[in-house]
């Protein structure tokens, strides 16, 4: 799977979790850029990614993610 495909799939996960298809992700997008991105939705994003990509994160990885770009790279490394 290419980085572009992961990015596209992750964008759809964001649309679904936040129920907002206007969200446009970049590598630099953080929780500060999306109004409802709180700790609950962070967990929902992690769970949705694990299901979509059939991967498992560990707690440290999740805590260390700084932005969407790092999320994409972490997912790619597990595929």
């Amino acid at each position: 799977m290419t980085r572009e495909q992961v990015f596209k799939d992750l964008t759809e996960i964001f649309w679904d979790v936040f129920d907002d298809e206007d969200i446009v992700l970049t590598d630099a997008t953080t929780a500060d850029d999306i109004e409802d991105w709180d700790s609950l939705e962070q967990i929902n994003l992690v769970v949705a990614c694990e299901k979509k990509f059939n991967i498992k994160f560990d707690m440290k990885e999740i805590q260390n993610l700084k932005n969407v770009g790092e999320m994409v790279d972490t997912i790619l490394a597990k595929l």
Binding site: I43, V46, V47, E50, F57
Partner: protein, 148 residues
């Protein structure tokens, strides 16, 4: 009889995340009495006549007043907080459908079955159902619960 919260250790499960498996379930029974509707009304100020006036409810085609759906759903709090996972529960989100009406005197069976486990975030998903004494589903839904 309402259990004393000070004695919760006697009745409460204390599952940790590592103790949980997909397919595990817990259930308990509760009978709806008029006091419960009165107490719910006192807390919520929901004075809608469908829940408070038998004649009104009968005029709508029901045998008597209908139990608040949210009162029925409130037992999901007990399911998670006392039964599965119990003490270490933190409810994150709940989806419910009220698929049939509940009436005073109904004996409900509240059941939750683990359908998914997410170790990275220590979260479980419960498929929840509440059925009445005739084995008719009155509520079904899903709960996402952290084990803290």
């Amino acid at each position: 009889m309402i259990p004393s919260w000070q004695n919760y250790n006697k009745i409460m499960n204390k599952y940790k995340f590592k103790d949980l498996r997909v397919g595990m379930y817990e259930e308990f029974k509760i009978t709806i009495n008029p006091e419960m509707l009165k107490d719910f009304r006192s807390v919520t100020y929901d004075v809608n006549p469908l829940h408070n006036n038998d004649k009104y409810a009968q005029s709508k085609g029901y045998p008597g007043r209908v139990v608040y759906g949210m009162l029925t759903a409130s037992f999901l709090s007990t399911l998670a907080g006392v039964y599965i996972p119990g003490e270490h529960s933190l409810i994150q989100q709940v989806e419910t459908k009220f698929v049939n009406p509940v009436f005073i005197g109904d004996q409900l069976t509240v059941r939750g079955e683990v359908t998914e486990l997410f170790e990275s975030v220590q979260r479980l998903t419960l498929k929840v159902t509440i059925t009445n004494q005739d084995d008719v589903k009155v509520l079904r839904g899903k709960m996402d619960i952290l084990v803290v």
